[in-house]
């Protein structure tokens, strides 16, 4: 029994987030102005060495951001499963993640209209980074909600 309690105590102590009732709330992080995917990738890269995954998540998750990305038709086939390339082909890729876009009302249709049947096109969107999963153990996962298509900047 004592060993069981010890294990449970250790697990509780090791949890990275503090969710105790009444615990002082951290002030909200400052709004990130003009923060790009390159900035996020840089911070995630630094977190790899420092173990500061939680700090990156606290700074970025919940922020409303405007990013220019590439929409590939084969990777964004429905509103429910739309992933976009955040970086140009870099020979070779430095990170593996592709942001998922969860669209605001009618916005997937806007995307479809903007890109037509082009296999790829560059778009600029605004969205709330509602999910940033990142750790030493699991792959980085980036998801935007309430996505609004601002411009289609180019097509091929």
């Amino acid at each position: 029994m004592h060993r069981t309690l010890l294990v449970l105590s250790m697990i509780t102590a090791c949890k990275s987030e503090d969710h105790r009732p009444g615990a002082p709330q951290d002030p909200p992080p400052p709004r990130l102005i003009n923060a790009t995917q390159h900035d996020l990738a840089k911070e995630l890269g630094e977190a790899t060495g420092r173990g500061t995954w939680g700090d990156v998540k606290r700074r970025w998750q919940g922020q409303t951001l405007t990013w220019k990305v590439t929409r590939y038709a084969s990777l964004c086939r429905t509103a429910e499963a739309c992933y976009v390339a955040a970086f140009p082909v870099q020979r070779p890729a430095k990170v593996g993640w592709l942001p998922q876009l969860m669209f605001g009302t009618g916005q997937y249709a806007v995307l479809e209209a903007a890109c037509g049947d082009q296999p790829q096109c560059e778009i600029t969107f605004e969205g709330r980074l509602d999910k940033l999963e990142t750790s030493a153990e699991m792959p980085t996962n980036v998801r935007f909600a309430d996505v609004r298509i601002l411009t289609r900047t180019a097509s091929r």
């Binding site: 590939y72 499963a81 082909v89």
Partner: protein, 422 residues
């Protein structure tokens, strides 16, 4: 195995032939963490329509890489503290619909000897066979959670210790082929069917050397009625191109979340099972996923491959490496990325994922089961994948084009394991 779930809620080579070559082991010791846990290292997955009954599908999952036949006295086996699983997606969404799970149990008849066998062995029930393993095979329908026990206490084929211990090894090993309810299964050592030149890891110093010849591997072989795994229990009509016309297959291994070592007795394992290895297509984690994400790949699920690793697929490192080191003349990654590879991972409108997909329409035969439509044992996948990766219109080969042993035309299909003392 002592896995205690009571605390679970709380604990909640390529060879460029034609001049140059490069070989890569499919997924043998491909990631840092799994290289430290050999018994659950998934090396290759195969899937093909049965050559003896085209109403059935054969799936092979190999584990425990690069085994030397004369590796006594503790010969290789499966771990009895792990789940070994083959997962099947039958509706194209890259999520598990059916899982086949093997769990193993070790048995020792006589602990007062160091010998694996104490005399010549002529059957699986021979009292001289001192160290044995058995397994339970279950089918899990993921949507309902329904679990069906297909086999229990089924024997694992023994290690081929040598001619003195096993005068007729094949006779003994074939006793490990077991059938129940239309399903036939085998578990045990076999000849390593993957053929490559592992000298690639010496700065691509390859020359077509068949470095996996004479090597064994631990194999799980399962032959099932296709109607057992098809969506709704029905095979689509011939020529169907729907998402359910293919099934997507991958294999995995999982370990208990927590192990506590004891001074005075064996260790205890606690908690839920955590996936530590997975594999479908050959070479994906080996050469597509970079070192920083290899362990993460092994822990993740195929349904998340695009969002987790999609950029690596769009812009793989392999062609650049081939050009830089070997001057292979591979095409540069097109400005739009390698969407052709994405397409190969998403046949018939299925969700792109690292799944070995195979057509299960009515009328499909063994002759049509060749990578990337499934994977036959004799397929030279290294050549195929190098050619796809290099993408310069020419064929690229690895200089090693066939296995050292002929494959069988009957269960368990893989060749008999090499003897420790031939």
């Amino acid at each position: 195995m002592k896995i205690k779930n009571t605390l679970a809620p709380a604990l909640a080579g390529l060879t460029i032939a034609a001049g140059a070559s490069l070989t890569i082991a499919s997924s043998h010791r491909e990631a840092p963490s799994i290289a430290e846990d050999q018994y659950v290292d998934n090396t290759d997955v195969y899937a093909f329509i049965s050559p003896t009954d085209s109403s059935k599908l054969v799936m092979v999952a190999n584990y425990v890489p690069l085994l030397i036949p004369s590796s006594g006295p503790n010969f290789y086996r499966f771990s009895d503290e792990a789940y070994y699983e083959i997962h099947i997606d039958n509706d194209g969404d890259a999520k598990d619909d059916i899982t086949y799970r093997w769990t193993f149990k070790n048995e020792l008849k006589n602990g007062s000897t160091f010998l694996y066998n104490t005399g010549a062995v002529d059957s699986l029930s021979d009292p001289d066979l001192n160290v044995t393993q058995s397994y339970r095979l279950e089918k899990i329908e993921e949507k309902t959670g329904r679990k069906t026990r297909l086999l229990d206490k089924a024997p694992v084929a023994p290690w081929n210790v040598g001619k003195r211990s096993f005068p007729d090894y094949d006779k003994v090993a074939n006793e490990a082929v077991k059938s129940a309810g239309g399903v036939t299964a085998f578990a045990g050592p076999r000849d390593e069917p993957f053929f490559v030149d592992l000298h690639v890891f010496d700065l691509l110093g390859v020359a077509g050397a068949p470095t996996t010849d004479g090597i064994n591997v631990m194999s799980l072989v399962l032959e099932v009625p296709i109607t057992d795994i098809a969506k709704g229990g029905r095979r689509p009509a011939a020529g169907s191109t729907g998402q359910d016309s293919v099934v997507g297959i991958y294999a995995s291994a999982s370990r208990p979340q927590v192990r506590i070592l004891r001074r005075g007795r064996d260790s205890d394992d606690f908690g839920q099972m955590i996936q530590v290895s997975r594999l479908a297509w050959p070479l994906v984690n080996e050469v597509i996923i970079p070192l920083q994400d290899k362990d993460k790949y092994n822990r993740s699920a195929p349904k998340d491959d695009v969002k987790n690793f999609g950029a690596y697929i769009l812009d793989p490192e392999v062609p650049k490496l081939l050009n830089a080191v070997l001057g292979a003349g591979c095409a540069p990654t097109p400005a739009g990325g390698r969407t052709d590879i994405v397409g190969l991972l998403a046949p018939n409108g299925t969700t792109a994922a690292d799944l070995l997909r195979i057509n299960i329409n009515q009328g499909e035969t063994n002759a049509q089961s060749h990578f990337p439509n499934g994977r036959a044992l004799a397929d030279d996948v290294t050549d195929t994948l190098l050619t796809v990766a290099c993408n310069n219109g020419g064929a690229i080969g690895d200089g090693v084009n066939a296995n050292d042993k002929a494959f069988l035309t009957y269960m368990p299909y893989l060749a008999s394991p090499h003897s420790g003392n031939p």
